[in-house]
Amino acid sequence: MTTAPARPPLVRSGDRVIAGVCAGLANHLGWPVHMVRIGMVVAALAGGAGVAFYAWLWIMVPTSDENARRNARRPASPIAPSVSAPAAPAGTGSTGTHRTGPYGPGPQETGPQRTGPQGSWWSKAPGMPFGKEILLGAGLLLAAGILIARLLGVDVPLGTLIPVAAILGGAAIAWMQLDETRRAGLVDKTKADQAGGWARLAAGLALVVAGVLVMVSGSGSWEQTWLALLASVAVLGGVALVLLPWGLKFWRDLETERAGRVRATERAEIAAHLHDSVLQTLALIQRRAGNEHDVIRLARAQERELRAWLYRDADKESGTLSEGIKAAAAEVEDALGQAVEVVSVGDCVMTQRHDALVQAAREAMLNAARHGGGTVSVYLEVADDAAEVFVKDRGPGFDPDSVPPDRLGVRESVIGRMNRHGGAAAIISSPDGTEVRLRLPVTAAPAVANHTNGEAKP
């Protein structure tokens, strides 16, 4: 069995006639679907063996949805131990089904999968991880015993046993259905789906009851059956009325528990983040309280990091020009401890030419932070025709022409770099401060040409 090649996991297919068992089995075994179906029907004619097999698979094999969901839920386990803990022994088997473990064709392997993550319903009996299998086995053994006893000539009151068995079976199916519905709620299924689950439950119950009644009333007339049906519906209604408060309470408890778990998860995440960042920084600040420069730098870096975390936008893809400029500003802030304020208007995806712009801007920011003193203002504007960056400081200023030729900073890293990439740089300095203006026009060709142009440069 272990040498079998990797097969698709045995799950009930969505392409179903009754419950998707045949399609799932065919998919798993690699046989044509209609062959499996015909085989099942033939087996069903052979003393009902097919029916029993079908029912068994129906009960034991999860649907593909459930299977996928269960696998997807696995990673969340450390945060929500109450969900995943009971699944732990079975988990190793089912997570491996997709990639590693060769999946045995025997349906018995699907058993633990199904029971494992059932949730708290089963986890209340942690000593009995295979409770359902044992129950089922006991039931089958009982049935077999009865059959054998009948063969041996012992008189078994089948007239009473069959209705009892039918009712028990119906109840079991209803309960399983209920459990499934509940789990569907737990893993954020849509409301419509839940309603569908309840409808199925109701329909199943009605069918079971009707069947039982017809069976019990035997050869009775239609009139009698109708009367009995009416009476049973009335009884069912009464039972529902009695059980409704209990059911509602159960549901509400479940909702509360779920909300609580979500809150706890969020709280844990926030606490973890604050511990890793803010608390560490506060501790550092207390130790460095004497050094004003360090304190400002730490506070500034922490503020930036916290802001990024608080206002992060999950949908926003990285790799934009404004992100690049902000990252460069953060680097300069960390290196020199001067505040660098970035204001950006418009944005675009970063190409290699923009990389040159960011590098030049970074060099300008470094100069501004080093010589300017005070806050450095960076303004990025991305228009249709060009991207512009302005870096302004309030330092004493300098004469760009008097910069010695051996000072590469301004001449090479800023002006030269911009010129090489088809842009322009200007430095305006006065005693009130210095502003570096960088402009990188978008070439007339569309973005593709931009890209190749940028690649050709280095």
Binding site: A308, E341, V343, V345, S377, E381
Partner: protein, 232 residues
């Protein structure tokens, strides 16, 4: 929590120098309030303080200050924060000016509080000198635009100038755009005036016009833009 300053406006104006600017500080952090009080210049008198929406509305109505330094995120009321204070003090908006203060740089906070009637927006990291200058500017009826706010305006209104020179609310004129750009680049009003060869008064006029457009523009995109732009 309210602590009206001992001197009345009449008593203060007898000091001989021009009447001091009376401000009310609205912030739920007492530490920040006292720090701000210490930072403000001597000619700015703190007439009252408040820590919640209800307190703020009451203190502002009682004190009728020149300027209210208003924290955007404030407990109390119906959860609307600074905007609720502005709404509650609507009858005073003609005489009392509001300057919004916040640690948040989020566009929706900035734009919503400006549209509720604030005449400026500064972040709490602002220095004492700068906040004093901003208070005086707001008291004089002008608007205070930080580089970040100017950036938001440019982003929201677009960087293309209005075609016609009429009083269109949804677009900025070419001159207003120039002023906004320079402010976004970190220029002071004085530097903007020098750069554009216009007077500081003209710069202030342009900035006030932009503020008016920001407050009155019915551009539905503006609110949506602010809500969508959840980044810094």
């Amino acid at each position: 929590m309210t602590s009206p300053a001992p001197e009345t406006p009449a008593a203060a104006s007898t000091a001989g120098s021009p009447a001091p600017t009376r401000v009310v500080i609205v912030d739920d952090h007492a530490i920040f309030r006292s720090g701000l009080k210490a930072d403000l210049d001597a000619d700015i008198v703190v007439a009252g303080e408040a820590g919640t929406v209800e307190e703020a509305v009451a203190v502002i109505a009682a004190q009728r200050p020149d300027v209210v330094l208003l924290d955007v995120h404030l407990p109390g009321g119906r959860g609307g924060g600074g905007r609720e204070v502005l709404a509650g003090s609507a009858p005073l908006l003609g005489t009392t000016r509001f300057l919004a203060l916040s640690v948040s740089d989020a566009a929706e906070d900035v734009v919503s509080v400006i549209r509720a009637g604030a005449r400026g927006y500064v972040t709490k990291t602002i220095s004492g000198v700068e906040i004093s200058a901003a208070v005086r500017r707001v008291a004089g009826g002008d608007a205070v635009f930080s580089p970040r706010l100017a950036g938001f305006v440019l982003d929201a209104f677009g960087t293309a100038p209005a075609d016609i020179a009429d009083d269109e609310l949804d677009k900025l004129s070419a001159r207003e755009l120039e002023v906004m750009r320079l402010i976004a680049r970190g220029y002071s009003y004085k530097e903007v005036a020098k750069e554009l060869f216009i007077s500081i008064k003209t710069v202030e006029t342009h900035v006030s016009a932009v503020l008016r457009k920001l407050q009155l523009s019915s551009r539905h995109e503006l609110t949506r833009w602010a809500a969508e732009r959840r980044l810094l």
